[in-house]
């Protein structure tokens, strides 16, 4: 199928528009992310920046590794344009570990990792037709029982 000059221009315009939206969305995430990092306390922010662009109702997945023997806090947030988000934490076999729906604190998840493992955090927009930036920040804390790595 040959594309006309006009169609090519249109496609390029849509493509550029997508990037414009995507990047401006990420920029808008910064204030919310700063708040998210504050909410990690008393957990120490591990310094990792996880920003994702949620596009038109599709979930975004963040795959991340956690170490055995540490307490973790996942804090989720989003820019205003995206609206509220929900999230699920899955293990690497896609088995659900946590679902924020119905939680008292729907934007955070605290757990002890008893194994070094890869987890998947899925972030969903709660309102249809919206897109924008969402983020995950991670806090770590030594458990009181620090001998847990000596297994």
């Amino acid at each position: 199928m040959k594309l006309s000059q006009q169609n090519i221009k249109l496609l390029v315009s849509v493509f550029l528009l997508f990037f414009t939206i995507s990047f401006s969305a990420n920029a808008q995430c910064k204030p919310a992310m700063k708040e998210g990092i504050k909410k990690l306390a008393p957990y120490m922010h591990n310094g990792v920046v996880n920003t994702v662009t949620v596009i038109l109702d599709e979930p975004s997945e963040i795959h991340l590794s956690v170490y055995k023997g540490l307490n973790y806090k996942f804090q989720i947030g989003s820019e205003d344009a995206l609206g509220k988000v929900s999230f699920r934490v899955l293990d690497e076999y896609k088995t659900e570990i946590y679902n924020s729906a119905g939680s008292n604190d729907p934007l955070s998840f605290v757990f002890f990792s008893n194994a070094s493992q890869n987890l998947i955090v899925e972030i969903y927009p709660m309102e249809k037709g919206k897109q924008g930036c969402a983020f995950l920040v991670v806090g770590v804390k030594e458990p009181k029982n620090i001998a847990v790595r000596n297994l």
């Binding site: 591990n46 990792v48 979930p59 055995k68 896609k94 002890f112 008893n114 790595r149 297994l151």
Partner: protein, 289 residues
């Protein structure tokens, strides 16, 4: 010098930025009848991340391991890093070294690595995220570690934005890879020297980290140098494939905290550690020259 220090700390956070964005089909699809709550993620946008060097060295420090300068990349090698790939990979490596010095409070070494990081950052034209105003704030808070960390984190977010805006995800992935290789070199050497069960366990844990890292790099394998890096990493991965998870006795976590995981760990034999160290040393030498 003080400004340089803070700029470099911010760059250290560059190696921690998530990479991704490609549509990726579900890996190792499983029978939905076997796994509860299984979902279709074929339309998801996937991002990959690995633990920060700070996280890795926190575990190392918890094991009681001492600071060992001899395993760090030498600062005077910086003149060898000419290509963009070499600069990016060693920016990651030096950032890891910086994190190691930071955690062990080695101020002089910290400053030396900071200087190199600043130089490589400038050489790679990673800027636009660290204005004079931020530098002033850093100076004003130079004695307050918590404030400093908050400002540095903010600068890291700005750096993330800068790289994304400039579509330089390949550079970000290279920085992350260089940082991981350096961390692997450090912990493998310390494990080999001390034969500490905890540190050997930390090296074993890298099996799962390597999986995420290679998935991240796969997205950029069209780049010749990343493709070569991937090949070397797969060789390390092949050794890890011989290491099976060992079931441990469940441990009790802190009160009111959910315990997540299957209570397994990856225990290395001395021979497996030697093999990993050899491969990692070869790869690390390719990067640090």
């Amino acid at each position: 010098m003080r400004l340089t220090k803070y700029i470099a700390v911010f760059i250290a956070s560059l190696s921690l930025i998530s990479c991704g964005g490609s549509d990726k089909p579900t890996e190792n699809p499983v029978d939905s009848t076997e796994v509860k709550n299984s979902i279709d993620t074929s339309k998801s946008v996937v991002f990959y991340n690995i633990p920060s060097p700070l996280e890795t060295f926190t575990i190392l420090k918890m094991s009681g391991s001492a600071f060992d300068k001899s395993v760090l990349n030498q600062t005077d090698k910086i003149t060898k890093y000419v290509s963009s790939f070499s600069k990016a990979a060693n920016l990651g490596a030096y950032s890891t070294d910086l994190s190691f010095c930071y955690l062990y409070r080695q101020n002089q070494d910290f400053n030396n690595y900071l200087k190199n990081i600043n130089e490589l950052t400038n050489a790679l034209s990673i800027d636009g995220s660290y204005g004079q105003e931020v530098n002033k704030r850093l100076q004003a808070n130079s004695t307050n570690l918590d404030s400093l960390m908050a400002i540095v984190t903010e600068a890291g977010i700005n750096a993330d934005q800068y790289l994304k805006d400039n579509q330089r995800n390949t550079a970000t992935a290279t920085i992350a890879a260089g940082g991981w290789v350096e961390a692997m070199y450090i912990i493998s050497n310390i494990a080999d020297k001390t034969q500490s069960e905890d540190v050997m366990g930390l090296v074993g844990d890298q099996k799962i980290v390597l999986k995420n890292l290679t998935n991240m790099l796969e997205q950029f394998k069209a780049d010749e140098e990343i493709s070569s890096l991937l090949m070397d990493m797969r060789e390390i991965g092949a050794i890890y494939e011989t290491i099976q998870a060992t079931q441990n006795t469940p441990v009790t976590s802190d009160k009111d905290i959910i315990s997540v995981g299957n209570n397994t760990s990856f225990k290395l034999s001395k021979e497996q550690l030697k093999s990993i160290l050899e491969k990692v040393t070869v790869l690390r030498n390719k990067i640090t020259l």
